[in-house]
């Protein structure tokens, strides 16, 4: 099911002019504060009528200003997790959660109440009303409410912003399961947390001043040095695909990538499964010789493809590792000392523990 | 009475018309505050700035006389009135009033409230005296003053009504079909009392033959001494 968005809208001083596609999986919208992310989502949800343009999901045209078509929000069946929770103050948590269930068509598939309550830790809150919930509790109820309306697509506007890290670590895999499970629920996801986006998203849409700056598969956009200012220096890094080939007793798993094997802890996938690894540029060390006696067990032979000096003292090194592309961030001095240049063969050391469980997906 | 001082008169609403004319003819400015007799009596008892009070109900004047109010002179009635039965449609006068219920059919008989409005109280006395009260009571339309009853008949909301002869005379859209014999209810009098010399002067003017001509023109009769 593909979401196609092509809209123009004038909002105060902001001229929004956005076109993108979100086919299956999770499409992240990323951009600075006030850049138009919520406005775009509102247009998809039907809470905003764009001045001009077209929005469609699968075969259904939601908006087409050319033909005057406009499907009201209630008919779109999109589960919207708002930036502000917007819980119904007069209803208990339970009634908030089940509010949308009755409007779903009889056959609609979707999450079950018990699962969602367990996932979000809402059991002790069910009889309470939103007025007394804490910030994070409200946000969790809002997520649950959207999930339980059995939508055809999820729109999530900074859904995890006020949640603690452990709770995020519980919710993220669930969203991955929604994306990958039988429902194959497409998700449009706004977040300022690059690690969330990098972990979850299949596609990335970078917005700036109401316009799309870059869009495409996560790999490409994340590795695009031009995106670094928006993503943040610490967060840039490549994503590579791997196949799980063995689980050892000590908890380490062996994964095959095109350039060799890696030993990683905490891999939950079955043997034979293909998983996604995120390798932060700053977690890659380059060495001219194969290093010995290191605690790090993951060493890959790589070839330098590009050397992209950053604005400051660092440089982004584009590496080819087998068929995959890896990004390394090193100091300019190291570039000079190691004479890093396109074509140079060297070794990339990936620390085993840098690839946290959270950054493995699909 | 060329050099008389200005006067403020508190007067019963059913005197409107006649009193307006008389005020205009008087040699000094006359301001009239119209209201129901009960309201007037209470206001005067409470110290209203009235020079003269004219009520449509002797009972209220009796009440007022018992209050802590000093009159500038004796109370006297300045006019009297009669009850008539009126109809909306122009019909033959009713020679036999016992035909009224039949004529009324399912319509309403408009009159002042049986207790609260003097005209209503007189009408009830009369209807009781001729044994029509019980028959007509369910079909009454009792109003807050006699002019409202008149208006009901004038608009046709009620086919018949019992009002003062003065009202019937002033309203062209009603027809008098029966004159109520004056001996079948208490006398209908308009007692007045002055509270100042100016009021007393105007009261004397109201009792004067010149004023009585105006009263007569509005259908009032002279009050018996």
């Amino acid at each position: 099911m593909t979401l196609q968005v092509e809209i123009k809208h004038q909002l105060g001083g902001l001229s929004l002019k956005v076109g993108f596609e979100a086919a299956g999986g999770i499409t992240a919208i990323f951009g600075r504060s006030g850049t138009g992310k919520t406005t775009v989502i509102n247009a998809v949800a039907g809470l905003l009528r764009p001045d001009a343009g077209r929005v469609s999901l699968g075969g259904d045209v939601f908006v087409d200003t050319a033909s005057g078509r406009f499907v009201p929000p209630a008919k779109r069946r999109l589960g919207y997790v708002f930036q502000d929770a917007r819980l119904f103050p007069h209803l208990t948590v339970r009634d908030n959660l089940t509010f949308g269930a009755r409007y779903a068509p009889p056959g609609a598939q979707g999450a079950g109440l018990d699962d969602v309550v367990a996932l979000l830790g809402l059991a002790p809150l069910m009889a309470r009303r939103p007025g007394t919930l804490s910030g994070g509790e409200k946000q969790r109820v809002a997520i649950g409410r959207a999930l339980l309306s059995r939508p055809r697509m999820l729109l999530m506007d900074e859904p995890l912003a006020s949640l603690d890290a452990p709770r995020k670590q519980e919710i993220l895999p669930y969203l991955e399961r929604l994306r990958d499970g039988p429902l194959n629920l497409p998700i449009l996801y706004v977040s300022h947390a690059v690690d969330e986006v990098a972990r979850l998203a299949d596609r990335l849409v970078l917005l700036q001043d109401g316009e799309v700056q870059a869009q495409g598969p996560l790999y490409d956009v994340m590795a695009d040095p031009a995106a670094v200012p928006l993503l943040g220096v610490r967060e840039a890094g490549a994503v590579i695909e791997a196949e799980v080939i063995a689980h050892a007793d000590d908890g380490l798993s062996t994964l095959r990538i095109s350039a060799g094997t890696l030993e990683l802890p905490g891999v939950q996938a079955d043997i034979g499964a293909r998983v996604r690894l995120r390798v932060l540029a700053q977690d890659v060390i380059l060495s001219l010789s194969r290093p010995e006696g290191l605690s790090s067990v993951n060493v890959l032979p790589v070839r330098v493809e590009t050397v992209h000096p950053g604005g400051g003292p660092g440089a982004a090194i584009g590496l080819r590792a087998g068929k995959d592309r890896v990004l390394a961030r090193v100091t300019a001095r190291a570039v000079a000392e190691m004479q890093l240049a396109p074509g140079l063969d060297c070794y990339a050391i990936l620390k085993a523990t840098t690839v946290a469980p959270g950054s493995i997906g699909r | 009475a060329a050099q008389s001082p200005p006067v403020t008169v508190f007067a019963a609403a059913s005197l409107r018309g006649a009193l307006d004319d008389l005020a205009a003819q008087y040699g000094a400015p006359v301001t009239v505050s119209f209201a129901g007799s009960g309201t007037l009596a209470r206001q005067v008892a409470a110290g209203a700035p009235a020079d003269l009070v004219v009520l449509a109900n002797p009972a209220w004047m009796d009440w007022l006389a018992e209050q802590d109010v000093s009159f500038a002179g004796p109370t006297r009635s300045i006019a009297s009135n009669r009850l008539v039965v009126i109809s909306h449609q122009e019909i033959e006068p009713l020679n036999d009033i016992s035909a009224l219920p039949v004529k009324l059919d399912t319509g309403r008989l408009a009159m002042g409230h049986r207790d609260a409005v003097p005209a209503g109280a007189y009408a009830r006395q009369w209807l009781q005296s001729i044994d029509l009260w019980n028959r007509l009571e369910p079909q009454l339309a009792e109003t807050d003053n006699v002019r409202s009853a008149l208006a009901l008949v004038a608009r046709g909301a009620a086919p018949f009504g019992i009002v003062y002869a003065t009202d019937a005379m002033a309203e062209t859209r009603v027809h008098t079909v029966f004159d109520v014999p004056a001996n079948l209810h208490d006398p209908i009098l308009y007692p007045a009392a002055a509270l100042s010399a100016g009021g007393q002067a105007f009261l004397e003017y109201l009792a004067s033959p010149a004023a009585q001509v105006v009263f007569a023109a509005h259908g009032f009769a002279e009050a018996p001494e």
């Binding site: 929000p73 209630a74 007025g131 | -």
Partner: protein, 229 residues
């Protein structure tokens, strides 16, 4: 009929009339309030002014206008009469008068409540699949509960106290259309009738206090539920 039983009879009729007026007027006032709060259309200002009119005009005039419209010999009155509905000189007309006179109060209270509802909550309900009617029934309506209650109690109180329009439209017939205000007024028109009037004023006050208390208790229950947003 003794004076006392007349008072009780008037009280009974007043409660009956006020009850009916409240029940009938609440949905209508809610609808008008909703339109005034949420819609914009040609003639909205006019509608708004018309709703306020019974407040500005002396009650007698309103009663008189009702009489002209619904008297047995007016076309509308005849049409309704043919349908079995008599208004003029009937308690049903007292209900109508009470509705008309209380309408501005009810509409205003409800409108203020509707305007205080955050439309973002209604939007949220829409995204969850709720159509207009569902949104209104499940979100707007419960949120404006205190406002509706306030409107209802104002309407009820006004219906209990309405005198001028009622007496003009349906007259003041003991046992038929004499409500408590009519009876109180009548008592005050008789020298020495104050004693009886005081009794009835106390009755009316007791009803008012009871209604207000009840509405406060209900409102507190409603808003305790919503608590701090």
């Amino acid at each position: 009929m003794t004076a006392d039983s007349a008072a009780w009879e008037a009280l009974r009729l007043s409660l009956w009339v006020a009850g009916w007026a409240t029940v009938l007027a609440v949905p209508l006032a809610l609808w008008v309030a909703w339109i005034l709060a949420r819609k914009s259309f040609w003639g909205k200002s006019l509608l708004n002014a018309v709703v306020h009119l019974p407040l500005v005009l002396p009650p007698v005039v309103t009663g008189y206008l009702l009489l002209i419209s619904f008297s047995p010999n007016a076309p509308m009155g005849q049409a309704l009469s043919a349908m079995g509905l008599q208004l003029a000189f009937h308690w049903t007309g007292a209900v109508l008068a009470a509705i008309v006179m209380g309408f501005p109060l009810m509409v205003r209270a409800m409108r203020l409540a509707i305007e205080a509802v955050d439309p973002k909550l209604e939007e949220a309900a829409e995204t969850l699949g709720a159509g207009r009617i569902s949104v209104f029934a499940r979100v707007t309506l419960p949120l404006i509960g205190p406002g509706i209650l306030a409107g209802a109690v104002m309407g009820f109180a006004k219906a209990m106290g309405e005198f001028g329009a009622t007496i003009t439209f349906v007259a003041n017939i003991p046992g038929q259309t004499q409500t408590l205000p009519g009876a109180i007024w009548a008592a005050l028109q008789i020298p020495g009738g104050e004693g009886q009037a005081v009794t009835m004023v106390l009755m009316a006050s007791a009803v008012a206090v009871a209604a207000v208390l009840l509405s406060e208790v209900l409102a507190r229950r409603v808003s305790a539920r919503i608590a701090a947003k």
